[in-house]
Symmetry: C2
Subunit: 208 residues, 2 copies
Amino acid sequence: MTDITLLVVDDHPVVRNGLRSMFAAAPGFAVLAEAADGREAVALAEELRPDVVLMDLRMPGGGGVEAITEITRRGLPCKVLVLTTYDTDTDTIPAIEAGATGYLLKDAPREDLFNAVRAAAESRTVLSPDIAARLVTRVREPRSGTLSAREREVLRLVSRGTANREIAAELFISEATVKTHLTHIYAKLGVKDRAAAVATAYDRHLLP
Amino acid sequence: MTDITLLVVDDHPVVRNGLRSMFAAAPGFAVLAEAADGREAVALAEELRPDVVLMDLRMPGGGGVEAITEITRRGLPCKVLVLTTYDTDTDTIPAIEAGATGYLLKDAPREDLFNAVRAAAESRTVLSPDIAARLVTRVREPRSGTLSAREREVLRLVSRGTANREIAAELFISEATVKTHLTHIYAKLGVKDRAAAVATAYDRHLLP
DNA sequence: GGCGGCATCAGCCGATCGGTTGATGGCAGG
DNA sequence: CCTGCCATCAACCGATCGGCTGATGCCGCC
């Protein structure tokens, strides 16, 4: 049986080395090359035609999502397995839309990683459990912009730099309630802090 | 000498009472009425023609800025003295543009408040020291969107919910440097936290 | 040839945030 | 009637943030 050929894309040399040595130590894999950004990745994918591209998102100079888009646009035969540190809707959804075959977090056990690469090579989709769960709840409830009136009000104040305690005073409710609203807002928007919530709200035109 | 007539506008009954009793205890002032939101404020200002309107910004149902705009638009003879808890550019600049005669923070000493009202009654502008300083530095340097490339990069990551430590890893710099960049960003945008920075950046089209 | 902007880093500290768990009441829809 | 969503509140805790002070090196400008 032939080895599964790989292209490793990450801006961190350390990570690239780590992946390369992991796959060198395991049978059935061959790392063809490494790239440090999206542009390099596309060029090498075209030239070397690896089976699977291990792609980091968020790189300086040519983000991962753009690279995935370009690879699928050019009809290159390789599968893209996203391997990143973070799990925000802002990252995952675009990557999957762009054509990623799988999506794993970097803290995944090495065996999971190997399995994911094998799966990707056969065009089977593999998602890390967290991502999968988030996608499911997202599909199940198309809650785009389903913020309640109260939640929008809280978010508006947040976008003006108002602290939770001040928001509480402003709306005549307790600080605990403000925090509850915020937790719900984060869940609905798929983010993890107020800054991202504000950004997402602007993106989805939930704020003026 | 005739008393200076006042209209107190604040959504907090407590604050309204506090102001009313403060001015009742001091000679030379007469509180004509109170309003709980912007709409009421405009109506009462038109009806009672007070010398000075003490106006809170940020009220449910008819914000303070809108009320000020409306008052000046109608050519009402009263001066508006903004009296608020917060001091963000997002609040002060629009209020002053709308036609506020003065701008005080609620933690100002009572004597300052009295003086400010007397000044406002004579159309003299009174700003709290903090506000004044901020306005000066703002006029001196027309720093609209003068974020450096690095600062924009940091802000972009912030808008995606990235923590300082993660931003540091992403950009290959230390967490301390990220914090420094953020402090500069806050200063340049006239805000006090990352959420407001993101909102302001969107407003000024500094972020896609 | 100093002056200012930019980028980098350190350490300390209090304030704030976000997660977690759990609970209550109201109101709508099935 | 029960289930789900909304709004409200509490207490605790670790993580993060932001302010403050201070320092270094680089570069462009006048």
